[in-house]
């Protein structure tokens, strides 16, 4: 386990491993997302209260889950890089930020489209919606801060620090529906005991969830390769790679 971890901390090894893993993640994501979308949009029955509008859950919930997962990945990678001075950690953190920001935007937009027919409004300053919006601003902050420094190494450290500080918002987003009065519905899948969803609706949702996770793995691998190349531009292995 530790040998694998140390190996992955080596930029050339991480670069090659990411190239090898990306197609597998992408293939798994494609299978699960296609199945989830077809089953969720065509075969799952309409909700007894929300009718067919509930089908937005198949893209909204995975986007929202991914927005939190990508932020946690970014914060953990930044933390590892800060503590153990592992450059690949900064590359992973930098790669995760735009992916997470795009899915946070997708979660907010699809949530807004779901909110209009169910709540009668596209937006409300509800704890869940507001904390998710703060998450988007945190992503923008991390991305901007990294680019604000002339010295990329200082930008990496500052962005990692902001990412770590902002990780406090992740449990706030998740538990906001329990801690405060919220328009947003509570958890239906991630509950202790049985999920509050019929299996015919739940299976496509789980497929979409794991499909989006695999998709995140694939694009993270693809994007991290560019980040490693930028950081290792002067090293012998990159010169050998691009000079060949």
């Amino acid at each position: 386990m530790w040998t694998w971890f140390y190996k992955l901390a080596s930029p050339p090894h991480a670069y090659r491993s990411a190239a090898a893993m990306a197609p597998w993640f992408l293939a798994a994501a494609a299978v699960m997302i296609v199945y989830g979308l077809v089953d969720g949009l065509v075969f799952a029955p309409p909700d007894y209260q929300q009718g067919d509008a509930f089908r937005i859950v198949y893209v909204h919930a995975p986007s929202a889950w991914l927005s939190l997962f990508a932020y946690t990945t970014m914060a953990v990678a930044g933390g590892i890089a800060l503590i153990w001075r592992i450059k690949v950690g900064y590359a992973v953190a930098a790669a995760a930020a735009p992916i997470g920001a795009s899915f946070t935007l997708a979660a907010l937009a699809t949530g807004s489209l779901w909110g209009r027919p169910m709540w009668g409004t596209y937006w409300a300053w509800d704890p869940r919606l507001t904390s998710e919006l703060i998450l988007l601003f945190l992503y923008f902050g991390v991305i901007s801060l990294r680019q604000a420094f002339e010295d990329p190494a200082r930008g990496d450290r500052a962005a990692a620090l902001l990412g770590l500080v902002g990780v406090v918002n992740v449990p706030i987003v998740h538990f906001s529906v329990y801690w405060w009065n919220s328009l947003h519905q509570g958890g239906t899948v991630m509950r202790l005991g049985k999920p509050h969803m019929a299996p015919s609706m739940l299976w496509p949702l789980l497929a979409m969830l794991f499909g989006f996770m695999c998709f995140f793995g694939a694009v993270l691998c693809m994007r991290v390769r560019g980040e490693i190349l930028d950081r290792e531009r002067q090293s012998a292995w990159v010169r050998e790679l691009v000079g060949a």
């Binding site: 992408l26 997302i33 979308l37 949009l41 065509v42 309409p46 009718g51 067919d52 509008a53 089908r55 937005i56 198949y58 893209v59 909204h60 986007s63 735009p98 992916i99 795009s102 899915f103 935007l105 997708a106 937009a109 699809t110 489209l113 779901w114 209009r116 027919p117 998709f215 694939a218 694009v219 693809m222 994007r223 390769r225 560019g226 980040e227 190349l229 930028d230 531009r233 002067q234 990159v238 010169r239 790679l241 691009v242 000079g243």
Partner: protein, 56 residues
């Protein structure tokens, strides 16, 4: 049946843009990641070319 599917029980205006937006984000992520790596390769090649021209 076919028409009912696209109508989404009267919620088509909300369901289909949501699905389209999510698919758009997936496609953007793939294209953006590929472009990011391609540009990094160009920058690395340029750095190598500059280093070679300085030594000659």
């Amino acid at each position: 049946m076919h028409r009912d599917f696209w109508a989404m029980g009267g919620y088509a205006f909300f369901v289909w843009p949501s699905i389209g937006l999510a698919i758009g984000v997936l496609i953007w992520n793939i294209l953006s990641a590929r472009r990011h790596h391609a540009r990094a390769l160009v920058r690395a090649r340029r750095a190598l070319a500059m280093a070679r021209s300085e030594t000659t």
